[in-house]
């Protein structure tokens, strides 16, 4: 028998480096997903720690009607879509907190009411005025179509988010621990909570163009929940979550490139894999820790 023809095996460089080195659209997608990963960490961890995981979900859906209106006005123009998304998401967040401030309704209930209405309006607008492909783009994003303008938008939104978070960090943590303590010193606690909702909205506006309104919440929540299996300390958990989100972004892009899968779900599935690994073998509170819980203990 002659020598069998074997396909040249794919090297590590081919797998990890070449896609980004050869294609400009992959480079832009990588930069975008790294920037999004960076802010997803702290914003996601704070949402989880403040027991607002579902609020994140709600606001991510409130992005849709604004984006749809933007689409009706200007077509697939990212700045207009982004502005529309920003306005409706902020509106839903403000309405929900307004209603819960004035009445004795809980904020999560009001948020659910408003985001469901917003979602229905968004789906109606898209189905009346757009095609199904447009709806798919809004819902699942198109990270491989990120252009220069979109990169600038993402960079601006992530920078503003990081600066805002740094400004409200201590006030936000203080009022999360003891909600009324800062009320004795003025209105800073309430202001910080509102600014935090603004950072959540900004994060979603930055994410939805690339990941879609449906998938964006995945990049925000999965790394944050995964990080809690490794550390209870808030700053450490934020750094870990950012790292997880950035790894998910890069790995998800490669997965999408090599296996010809849509990029948004690839990224979120990678984040899901990191979550599952953390759930099983994390250093704190994981299933592994619970199973090998031994009788061994310290004297004090």
């Amino acid at each position: 028998m002659g020598k069998a023809t074997i396909m040249e095996p794919m090297t590590m460089v081919d797998f990890f480096w070449s896609p980004f080195a050869e294609f400009a659209f992959m480079q832009r997608a990588l930069v975008a997903s790294l920037a999004l990963g960076l802010i997803s960490g702290p914003v996601g961890v704070l949402l989880v720690m403040r027991r607002m995981s579902l609020a994140g979900d709600a606001i991510s859906h409130a992005v849709l009607p604004g984006a749809a209106i933007g689409y009706m006005i200007a077509g697939m123009s990212l700045p207009v879509l982004g502005l529309g998304a920003f306005i409706t998401a902020l509106l839903v967040a403000l309405l929900a907190s307004g209603v819960s401030n004035i009445t004795s309704q809980r904020e999560d209930a009001s948020l659910a009411a408003f985001y469901l209405m917003a979602l229905a309006i968004g789906v109606t607008l898209v189905s009346v005025h757009g095609s199904n492909i447009d709806l798919m783009h809004l819902l699942f994003g198109s990270i491989l179509a990120v252009d220069q303008t979109a990169l600038v938008l993402i960079a601006s939104a992530t920078s503003v988010t990081l600066i805002l978070l740094a400004m409200i960090w201590r006030v936000l943590l203080t009022s999360s621990f003891d909600p009324l303590f800062l009320a004795q010193y003025g209105r800073s606690g309430r202001l910080a909570n509102q600014l935090f909702m603004l950072t959540v909205v900004l994060t979603f506006v930055a994410c939805f163009q690339t990941l879609g309104t449906l998938m964006a919440v995945g990049l925000l929540m999965l790394p944050a929940v995964a990080a809690k299996f490794w550390s209870r300390d808030i700053p450490t958990a934020c750094l870990l979550a950012s790292a997880f989100a950035m790894i998910s972004g890069a790995t998800g892009l490669l997965l999408s490139y090599h296996a010809s899968l849509p990029s948004g779900p690839s990224i979120v599935l990678t984040a899901g894999a990191i979550y599952l690994v953390s759930l099983f073998v994390g250093s704190h509170d994981s299933l592994l820790i619970h199973t090998i819980r031994s009788t061994r203990h310290r004297e004090s």
Binding site: F177, Q184, A192, I234
Partner: protein, 266 residues
Amino acid sequence: MPAALKLIDVTIAYHGHPAVHHVSGAFEKGSLTAIVGPNGAGKSTLLSAMAGLTRVNQGAIEFDQTDAQHHQIAFLRQLSGINQDFPLRVLEVVAMGAWQEIGAWGAIKGAVLTRIEAALAQVAMEGFEDRLIDELSVGQLQRVLFARLIVQDAPIILLDEPFNALDATTTTDLLKIIHSWHADGRTVVAVLHDLQMVKDHFPRTLLMARELIDWGNTVDVLATANLARAQANSLAWQDTASWCHVPGTLEAMNGKSHHHGAHDHG
């Protein structure tokens, strides 16, 4: 003695139903007072209004000019109002007491850090600076919150059921701190349920059951007849109750509480 804090015909209502009903009187400067009464008597509501966190529907709460601002009041709420699972570090929680110095961005160092360390030592929690709050027992958490009060260094200190669910040792240690505040000349007011503790440690008592029952020296206030009257006061509100019409009583009351049934509370 001048009054540190004056209640002038204070009424606080939820949805139109009074939780605190026409209460008047004064906390003297440097006094150590217990607020006592059955569940639902409006004790926590009154305390929260004194801290400036609950709006007064009628009447007014006045402060001595020198401690006129609310931030010169240190207020410790019930533990249930605190998110005990939120993993802040002990040092960060105690540093909250120095909010006016550190604010939202200031570093925790120098004189502030020294004050924090001293406060932690006073509550026997030195060495716990880097522990996470969710690792602490309830007693240790309450010690940390007392350290925060010490760092706040306020002339008026309000405590809402500070000894709930605490063991004897912790209670004794924290009572010592309350007595040291009293010795400093601070005005201390605590909502309490343990009448024996009130008799042993608090010279003054305010007994209320939505309305003021009695306010004065503990031995007199905690007389059996008073306690029976506090218990007998129906605290269930009625939908059909008619609106309360009290004429402009602010000046006329002058330190007395308004009562609808005619009785003399001395």
